[in-house]
Amino acid sequence: MRIPVLKTYKIYIGGEFPRTESGRYYELKNKKGDLIANLCLSSRKDLRNAIVAARGVQHKWAGKTAYNKGQILYRIAEMLEGRKAQFVDELIQLGYSAKDAELEVLESVDRLIYYAGWSDKYTQLFSTVNPVAGPYFNFSKPEPTGVVVAQAPNNAPLSGLVSQIAPIIVGGNTCVVIADELSGTVAVSFAEVLHSSDVPGGVVNILTGKTEEILPHASKHMDVNAVWFTDLSKELAVSVETDAALNVKRIVNTNYKKWTKEDAQSPYLIQEFQEIKTTWHPIGM
């Protein structure tokens, strides 16, 4: 009889898979109470490291052509499709039926392709050439906000994660995602997909642990530009929004009942993490 080899789940920062610097862990259990895996209980320091990593590559990531970013998102979809079986297994461990697990994975693949397609199009949608009353060529176009911290929803282990990451990074932002505590295995496995998809290290960073512990530090962090939270308690939401005012972070509070449905995808989610820049240029001789 062969003994299966179990996987060590670690966090994803700057293109590497370290353990949490705190050495802490939590036990992820299935409904029967059996241990699925030990997961990193990420700390404030892990968050800060992740933000440094995200900031470090943001400029370079934003500078890649839209075509290139689109192909990278498409590549993530290719990699995810190829690892469908692994994700279905992990979702079944979390209590999903085989059918629901498959839907969760396939819709996540399609979501990535959806946003891959937007990469070289959202600019065409959200830009304008403005007919100002004077001899000026005047145009407005979106540019990425910067570093975004996202809190993954608790009702969509993979589709929620993907539906947040894709619109954030396709717009040239980098991000730190705080995975849902009860689906950390899927989040870490998705980091492995990202890692093999030509996504530069640091563009996406994924932490496992307790949202209520990590997120308040993110909303206070002075080098974060935006926070996307999904399903916080009223109290925590107010506190995050209040702290966001410290450096005028953009706050997005959007959640969906079913993240696999098409209403959880939209170019306006890309726009949430964009600034509009207007340029004036004289016309003359």
């Binding site: 075509y67 498409y74 392709i113 199009k121 004289p282 016309i283």
Partner: protein, 491 residues
């Protein structure tokens, strides 16, 4: 402020400098001895029973023979497209998009083979087919794949539905790229297609047919038939076509527009050009000279948007002329498969004859000719880069599209004069402006009557960027958001 290089002698490329041959390997490429029509997902023999040869313009060797489509073949292809159209349009946009992404990916995978075949069949330098034609063709599919499920954002408040069956006729100067420009937006929006490649360059389209089959695109969605003008006419005149997309010469475009008069068939035409490339005295001259070279000699000048009329401000005319002559003497004309080659073979004997006729007309009408001091191979069809000065707006070579490596050069004193001369043409496809002054760029570009203007660059293309002409250079746009419009009905 004269720089020593400006006054010095030109570099002697013929003496000490010699390039070793650096040919691209063609052993990986398998060209079949014969290609049939691609109709309803299968390669079928022609009703006519006839085949025509496709040759390499650089060696004059036969590469393969191609089925010739008569009216019956065209009819079969249109019927296959019609039969497939309903289901193709019914497919959810995101699934249709996935098929197009597959085409893009397969094309990237087979990119080198496509480039080698393109250069063998059409004569263009491998550097261009490898770095421009093929990657751009794949990029077009990638771009329009993404639109397939997003049309509600392209036309807010309207429902976009496909036109139906599109007949698409493409030219020989960018065979695969033009196929991509035509197919990608048509397929993304739910149309099915009958494509007719040009008779001198059918091979990459046949490789594309194999790719489309391998991508699992449903039968009949893309059909490809080959032939001469009569085949194209059969497609245009077919009673069950909803749309014609044509890229080619202005005379044929006019013929198509006439043929479609009174019929419920929409059409887009991307026709000839005679672009003005305007160099102001405040331009970065060395950069402008490179831009002039790229503008007119890219793809042997077989480019509808070629910068074939150069306008130079008088104060810098001598400097530009001197540098231009030095520069064209260094161009490498020869084997399209050689990576050193700047200018490959003229696409066909017929085209070479036309170019030579116009060069002679230029000389007869009093133009001063300067032919680059370059060597050309013995076999094949070649034309050395050619400059003409002492020409006026009245000369044939200034008015007619030559579609070869021939540049006419005129001077001007004021911006107004440049703009007037530039617009004094029946064409209006493209133009170039060279100046360091941004304000002047926007002033001049806004006054030029042409569909694409490059400022301090030339011959740039991108799937996100619309392309097409004013006036007799055609109607409709290909590329970008605007490139979707010709293929949809809006309700």
């Amino acid at each position: 402020m004269a720089h020593s290089n400006e006054m010095g002698a030109p570099l002697d490329f013929k003496g000490l400098w010699q390039y070793d041959a650096a040919p691209e390997d063609k052993s990986q490429v398998k060209i079949a001895p014969r290609y049939n029509h691609f109709i309803n997902g299968k390669f079928v023999e022609p009703d006519s029973g006839e085949y025509f040869d496709t040759i390499s313009p650089s060696t004059e060797e036969k590469l393969s023979e191609i089925a010739l489509a008569n009216e019956n073949d065209v009819d079969k292809a249109v019927k296959a497209a019609r039969k497939a159209q309903k289901d193709w349009a019914k497919l959810p946009g995101k699934e249709r998009g996935k098929y197009l992404f597959r085409i893009a990916r397969l094309m990237q995978e087979r990119a080198r083979a496509f480039s080698v075949i393109e250069s063998m069949d059409g004569g263009k330098p491998i550097r261009e087919s490898r770095d421009v034609d093929v990657p751009l063709a794949a990029a077009h599919f990638f771009y329009y794949a993404g639109w397939a499920d997003k049309l509600e954002y392209a036309y807010p408040g309207k429902k976009a539905s496909p036109k139906g069956v599109a007949g698409q006729i493409i030219p020989w100067n960018f065979p695969l790229l033009m196929a991509a420009w035509k197919l990608a937006p048509a397929l993304a929006t739910g149309n099915t297609v009958v494509l007719k490649p040009a008779e001198t360059t059918p091979l990459t389209s046949m490789f594309l047919a194999e790719l489309i089959r391998d991508a699992g695109i449903p039968d009949g969605v893309v059909n490809i038939v080959n032939g001469m003008g009569a085949t194209g006419a059969a497609l245009v005149n077919h009673p069950d076509i909803n749309k014609i997309a044509f890229t080619g010469s202005t005379p044929v475009g006019k013929f198509i527009q006439k043929a479609l008069a009174g019929r419920d068939v929409s059409y887009t035409l991307e026709l000839g050009g005679k672009a003005a490339n305007i160099i102001f005295e405040d331009a970065p001259i060395d950069q402008a000279v490179e831009g002039i070279i790229n503008g007119i000699f890219f793809n042997q000048g077989h480019v509808c948007c070629a910068g074939s009329r150069l306008f130079v401000q008088e104060s810098v005319a001598n400097e530009v002329m001197r540098k231009l002559k030095y520069r064209i003497d260094t161009l490498v004309v020869g084997d399209p498969l050689d990576k050193n080659t700047d200018i490959g073979a003229i696409n066909s004997k017929k085209q070479l004859d036309k170019i030579n006729e116009l060069i002679q007309a230029g000389i007869d009408e009093g133009g001063q000719v300067y032919k680059a001091n370059v060597s050309t191979p013995d076999k094949g069809f070649w034309c050395a880069p050619t400059l003409f000065t002492e020409v006026s707006q009245a000369h044939r070579i200034v008015n007619e599209e030559i579609f070869g490596p021939v540049l006419t050069i005129q001077t001007f004193r004021t911006p107004d004069e440049a703009i007037k001369k530039a617009n004094n043409t029946a064409f209006g496809l493209s133009g170039g402006v060279w100046t360091d002054k941004g304000a002047k760029i926007f002033n001049v570009t806004s006054q030029l009557r042409a569909g694409v203007i490059w400022a301090n660059t030339y011959n740039k293309f991108d799937p996100t960027s619309p392309f097409g002409g004013y006036k007799e250079s055609g109607m409709g746009r290909e590329g970008g958001l605007h490139g979707l419009t010709p293929y949809v009905n809006l309700d």
